[in-house]
Symmetry: C2
Subunit: 356 residues, 2 copies
């Protein structure tokens, strides 16, 4: 079969920016091979520098058959200012991968490159869903009761109440798809549970959410510890608090890992204990592994765009791609467009942009 | 010896609101006994309902000798709005305890009651250090490299850049006392490390901190994961992001504990592993125990006021009291007043209130 025949016979097509993140193709290419083992019907459009990608691609004959390598030697710098990156983005691996989604060649794009640049570029190329003003970055976080979807994780530092309401709506639609719940519980992240607490934009959003009908069930304010507890399905916040909260959780994960290692290496007896507790410790480390939760989605975009952590290795990157595959299969974007259009028709949902 | 003779022969006097928090005297009184075992020269002024306190106090004869019970049956409600609590605060255990510091009868006050009410009342009674506009809640958080002092943890939701600069100064003076470092490293909590990132008040503070001389060494922006890493000695933020970050860390701690318990109870073999790893696990649990870090200080007040977590048990509350004892011994407030007065004299420190 030729590349195009092979592509036609697969269901899901994913565009991949192979040059992003700290490691580039070295981790991205093995990640795609991991995904193919689980989903044999996926086809990849890989974007990036041929000379750097091919050596890795040659190691995975199945992947080589089920992918097309689109060469470009232009890349987005990891620490470029988004506005500058956007201006000179033409022909870069990130931009070409996003354009593949716009052109309908792929159902999703995955990149571990510069978050701000990816967001700016995806917004420019894919546009937002009609009615939605700005995309928000959402991700799944582990919790005792259940996993929680949190947004925004840093795409929008300053927002008003209406933007938070839109995030709540987008998060609810995402939770329905991702967690398969009919009416997800939604909480607004704040510094206390009383009505009078918190900054203006959070209290303004609370008032609207208590009033309107939307695909989620508004449960009031939640606090930072409700993330780990898994109290609600969706936690809504601005990109400032969201990013700080997410990174705090990451840092605590590293600290815990450090404590575990130290505790089981503190004495010969402790070391012996670690041998006997081998399976438990392996289980524990697996559950604490942040790579399981790699992958953020820009919700509200008119196209699937997944951001992987910049420091992602092959396993972590594969989880971001698996998220893309899952959402592509669910026709997630079509569902979002329909739900938002329906809400925009309802008179009480004043927060939808009237430009629709 | 009489009560007053006993009081005169001790060095450190601490005022304790015995009625605050979820458990009141049931946990507060045993906590004081724990402190006395470590510091025999401490005398307590206990404020609260005699009939509820005495049964517990009777169990600790040493404590009974080294304390004075000041009866009041008025208490501050745990979920009262701060402004309302303040208006009707006269004669409550919290207010009387704070007034004991104002009158010089105690060097510090400790309470696990309503944070907002405690802050409002302490500010009204004790006032801020001349030159400082608003107090900030600071606490010690665990980190890999070293413990970090973070502030504000929720006393001020909305602040401007100058307030953040004052927090940086207060945090530095506190770190010098608490961590015994000559020039503590100070970071501003933000959503990225580049100059252009983050909200206005954070960027405004960064500009001032890079320019002025103050008791700390400004190290630029830090992110949420720098808390767990312990990158700097002091992390400065507003009460909105600070409270959310602190609570996120708490929630992650609970999640980790849950994972550990589950991993070591998942199978008979895992259970056997837990027996062999008993000492390591005990060590690990001890290090992960949030009670070790209980106790926040309102920095910038003209008197020592320590806030304990509302859910604190005896061990946790004793740590908050131990912090009070340590800071009282260091003459921490006198040091702060001197440092701030010195800074206010320096022309370049424009952020000190000119009312001084």
């Amino acid at each position: 079969m030729s590349d195009s025949e092979k592509e036609a016979s697969t269901c899901i097509k994913i565009a991949v920016d192979a040059m992003g993140g700290d490691y580039g193709p070295k981790e991205v290419i093995p990640a795609l091979a991991i995904v193919l083992k689980k989903h044999s019907d996926v086809f990849f459009h890989i974007f990036g520098d041929e000379s750097k990608i091919t050596p890795y691609l040659n190691r995975y004959p199945v992947l080589k058959r089920q992918s097309k390598l689109n060469h470009t030697d232009k890349v987005i710098n990891n620490d470029e200012k988004p506005s500058i990156a956007l201006r000179s983005s033409k022909g870069t691996s990130m931009r070409l991968a996003i354009e593949a989604v716009k052109k309908g060649k792929a159902q999703a794009i995955v990149s571990s490159g510069n978050t701000g640049a990816l967001m700016a570029m995806a917004k420019t190329v894919l546009r937002t869903v009609p009615g939605i003003r700005r995309p928000a970055l959402a991700s799944l976080l582990p919790g005792i009761k259940s996993d929680t979807i949190m947004l925004d994780l840093g795409a929008n530092v300053l927002v008003d109440g209406d933007a938070l309401v839109q995030f709540a709506i987008l998060g609810s639609i995402f939770a329905k798809a991702q967690k398969k719940i009919e009416r997800p519980n939604v909480g607004l992240l704040n510094v206390g549970s009383e009505d009078t607490k918190g900054p203006d934009h959070v209290r303004a959003a609370a008032q609207v959410l208590s009033r309107i009908k939307f695909p989620g069930e508004y449960k009031g304010f939640v606090e930072g510890d409700d993330i780990g507890k898994g109290t609600v399905d969706v936690i809504v916040t601005d990109g400032y608090a969201g990013n700080i909260s997410l990174k705090t959780a990451e840092g605590m994960g590293s600290l815990t890992k450090h404590y575990i290692t130290e505790s089981f290496a503190s004495s010969p007896l402790a070391y012996l204990g670690a041998i006997f507790a081998f399976f438990s410790l392996r289980h524990l480390k697996k559950r604490l592994d942040p790579r399981r939760y790699n992958g953020g989605v820009f919700l509200g975009l008119n196209g699937l765009c997944i951001k992987s952590h910049g420091g992602a290795d092959a396993l972590a990157f594969s989880n971001a791609v698996l998220m893309a595959v899952r959402l592509a299969r669910l026709d997630y974007i079509d569902q979002t467009v329909k739900e938002i259009a329906y809400l925009a028709e309802q008179e009480e949902t004043m927060v939808m942009d009237k430009a629709v």
